[in-house]
């Protein structure tokens, strides 16, 4: 099962009540489509709204206007207007977000964090090792891991869910070139299996068979590349 993402006129801003209600617009009517089973990369300078866009798709940010529709089989969900329980259900079935930062549960070992997505421990361990985590770290909680090691745990968790829409936010920012290649190859593998990928990268990954479309954002809007 694949997911098609249709974003139409999406607007998002932040009202900073602690700064006298100052308003910051971060998405100004964004419209684009990600075909089922394809990979779209959003790129652009820092602060252009890339991560906010991804968080709106995931429902971690409220949307102020426009629509953000996910279609998969008989399921049609407008994330922009969905209620909390609908979003919880959609996340469980359809999508998984990997960010640059791991929000780990204290005391839980890396392998168990990945296994908690529903895969067995052996499969979780295999995935972590495949992505380049040191075997000695499998049974350790990631609280003391380096940024790159944490990132591998985050990516492994996202890939392990097997959900058909992968939302990836700068997932290779802390990785060395070798591990970066491994991670991108694993994402390409999930895409080959049918997953839709919407990813934010500063530099568009050069890996054949991964990226279908590149969109550039500037000041909260998509611009011609």
């Amino acid at each position: 099962m694949s997911v098609r993402v249709s974003v139409d006129g999406l607007r998002k801003g932040f009202t900073r009540h602690l700064l006298d209600g100052c308003r910051v617009e971060v998405l100004r009517g964004v419209t684009f489509e990600v075909a089922a089973g394809s990979c779209t990369v959003i790129t652009g300078p820092s602060g252009s709204g890339k991560s906010s866009l991804l968080r709106c798709v995931h429902g971690s940010y409220h949307c102020d206007g426009g629509s953000l529709v996910l279609r998969s089989g008989n399921t049609v969900l407008d994330v922009a207007t969905a209620g909390a329980r609908e979003l919880i259900g959609a996340r469980r079935r359809l999508m998984s977000l990997a960010t640059q930062f791991l929000e780990a549960i204290p005391r839980v070992a890396a392998v168990d964090l990945v296994a908690a997505t529903g895969v067995g421990r052996a499969e979780a361990a295999g995935l972590l090792l495949h992505l380049g985590l040191d075997e000695r770290l499998l049974e350790a909680p990631p609280a003391t891991f380096s940024g790159g090691e944490r990132q591998i745990v985050t990516i492994a968790r996202t890939l392990a869910t097997g959900r058909p829409l992968l939302l990836l936010d700068e997932i290779t920012a802390s990785l060395d070139p070798g591990r970066r290649e491994r991670v991108l190859a694993a994402v390409r593998e999930r895409k080959r299996e049918g997953a839709t990928v919407l990813a934010v990268f500063h530099d568009v990954p050069r890996l054949s068979g991964l990226v279908d479309e590149v969109r550039t954002m500037r000041d909260g809007a998509l611009v011609a590349a």
Binding site: L18, R55, L87, R107
Partner: protein, 270 residues
């Protein structure tokens, strides 16, 4: 759809006599200047479906513990209804109320003194709960008690030690074992890790998470600690001065708070 495991419908709690000046919960001040009555919460509505974990955050005095006390039938609301598993239990009194609390609800209080008799052994504290639900055979009760203590990672050989000799974290585990004794439909957690050091706090949270994963029990967690809520809850209510000022997905509220008070709360997090 199955009924909510727990539901509060437009619940208002007024501490004190009340007077015409504070009769309207929507407009009355938190503390009435004329009669001195205090509004604990006003027109609070929430529901927790089976398998869900709902969090309530807010500063001290925001009304979150009042909400929990109503849910546990410790307090009778001034107005509004309390439903457990779809049954209206607002007016339950005496034996009926004790049975609901014993069989369908479990609670872990902020301080162990509220939930345990410290002079009684850990096993005794848990067994009381079973006895209240009609368990009678000694061997059967003993087996269940030891099983529950093991479930909350307490050594069985400490079952006959008075709780007063336990550490803070162990006392919270005994409360948890007692709350789980009758496999309640709803587990209520009132600041379950308050006052514990961070490593003990993490172990208690880990334990609650594991219990939720294994039992899919509905849970209502009250805390002023956003870390606790983020670890346990899927949905979240933010309370301020007795009202719900914002509600939604936990990560949404913490990463994109809309209400001024929620923004203040999130920005104050250490």
């Amino acid at each position: 759809m199955s009924p909510a495991a727990l539901e509060l419908r437009s619940v208002t709690v007024r501490y004190g006599p009340g007077c015409p000046a504070c009769a309207d919960a929507d407009t009355a001040p938190v503390r009435c200047a004329r009669c001195g009555a205090v509004l604990g919460c006003r027109r609070l509505s929430l529901d927790v479906l089976p398998g869900e974990v709902l969090g309530i955050v807010g500063e001290s005095g925001s009304g979150k513990s009042t909400a929990l006390a109503c849910a546990n039938l410790d307090l009778v609301p001034t107005a509004g209804r309390v439903l457990v598993g779809g049954d209206d239990v607002t007016d339950a009194r005496g034996g009926a109320r004790r049975r609901i609390r014993s069989d369908r609800l479990g609670i872990v209080y902020q301080t162990p003194q509220q939930g345990l008799d410290l002079d009684v052994t850990a096993g005794g504290n848990v067994a009381v709960r079973l006895l209240a639900s009609g368990w009678r055979g000694f061997d059967e009760i003993r087996r269940r008690v030891l099983g529950l203590l093991a479930e909350v990672e307490l050594p069985g050989d400490r079952a006959d030690t008075p709780v007063s000799l336990y550490s803070g974290g162990m006392r919270q585990r005994v409360q948890l074992a007692r709350a789980l004794a009758n496999s309640p439909a709803v587990l209520l957690l009132d600041e379950p890790t308050s006052g514990l050091d961070v490593s003990v706090q993490a172990r208690i949270l880990d334990l609650v998470r594991r219990i939720h994963e294994e039992t899919r029990m509905a849970m209502l967690v009250v805390s002023h600690d956003l870390g606790v809520i983020r670890t346990l809850a899927q949905r979240l209510l933010v309370m301020h001065r007795g009202r719900v000022v914002e509600e939604g997905l936990c990560d949404q509220l913490l990463s994109d708070p809309q209400h001024p008070y929620t923004q203040l709360l999130v920005s104050s997090q250490l």
